[in-house]
């Protein structure tokens, strides 16, 4: 059995290494690469057209529905992981329990489907 603290020390170190590698690559590139900015280069690339206004504006909000549904199903997932590990010992009780849970969420999915919220235009 691997030691708990040591395991997560590994995880910690790997995160640090990931960040370090990106930093190192950028630094090397910054040292080696030339930098000759011109006004044309520094303009946002919009297929050669002169950009009109900023990109940070208002966008249609129905894109938000997908993020919303994802959050709900993600929360379902955090219950599924522990359930999958012990469902054999729970037996039929566990099946019914999770069945009711999923069925209630599927009602929401069906509602979204009927409201035509699941199509991306």
């Amino acid at each position: 059995m691997p030691d708990y603290n040591l395991s997560y020390f590994y995880v910690f170190v790997f995160f640090a290494v990931g960040a370090f590698v990106v930093g190192a690559l950028m630094t090397v590139s910054r040292i080696i690469a030339p930098r000759r900015p011109t006004p044309e280069k520094l303009r946002p690339y919009e297929s050669g057209e002169e950009p009109i206004g900023q990109a940070w504006g208002r966008y249609p909000i129905h894109f938000y529905v997908f993020a919303l549904l994802f959050v709900v199903f993600d929360v379902e997932v955090i219950f599924l992981f522990p359930w999958a590990v012990i469902f054999a010992s729970l037996g039929w009780y566990g099946i019914v329990e999770m069945g009711v849970f999923i069925a209630i969420l599927v009602v929401g999915l069906v509602y979204a489907w009927k409201k035509d919220a699941l199509s991306w235009y």
Partner: protein, 166 residues
């Protein structure tokens, strides 16, 4: 080797608190969103340090992977709204800043009151199965109610977003 755990604790706590402060203090909303994600990540580290590994990764999955993305979606869809005139209720800002010294008093008091003897007793890892048994055996009813809550949230939010779309 006894100094490593406190050292990591201090690093993570600094990330959490600095991230939280940045959420409140940074003027730009994207800055706030990103530092919120950082703070959540540090919090996951603290959970792992406590030995609650399952909670730690649930934290990453839900808070960093889902809620931060959701909030960034909100930011992207509303854009950078032009700041209006400062018309808040007159006591709001003062009350907010008055909380700050209060907070430090509270923190210092809790540290002194609690930190001297009691060490956290840590069972090394393996908190998945006790947790699963607790949720699905002892707390089965709240578990089902949670799904109803999620359903209500889902339907309510979809109705809000889709209203006036057509």
């Amino acid at each position: 080797m006894d100094f490593i755990a406190p050292l990591i604790f201090v690093i993570l706590a600094a990330i959490v608190v600095a991230g939280g402060l940045a959420v409140v203090l940074l003027p730009r909303i994207t800055g706030s969103a990103l530092s919120m994600g950082l703070s959540f990540l540090g919090m996951a580290g603290l959970f792992a340090l406590l030995g609650a590994e399952t909670i730690a990764f649930f934290q990453v999955l839900i808070y960093v992977g889902a809620i931060t993305v959701l909030i960034l979606y909100g930011v992207m869809l509303t854009g950078v709204a032009p700041a209006g005139a400062d018309r808040r209720l007159f006591f709001q800002k003062q009350a907010g800043w008055a909380l700050v010294p209060l907070k430090f008093v509270g923190v210092v008091a809790t540290v002194f009151a609690l930190s001297f003897q009691s060490n956290v007793v840590q069972q090394p890892g393996g908190d998945l199965e006790p947790l699963a048994n607790a949720v699905f055996r002892d707390y089965a009813f709240p578990f089902e109610v949670a799904s109803v809550l999620l359903l209500a949230a889902m339907i309510g939010a979809i109705a809000l977003v889709k209203r006036g779309d057509d």
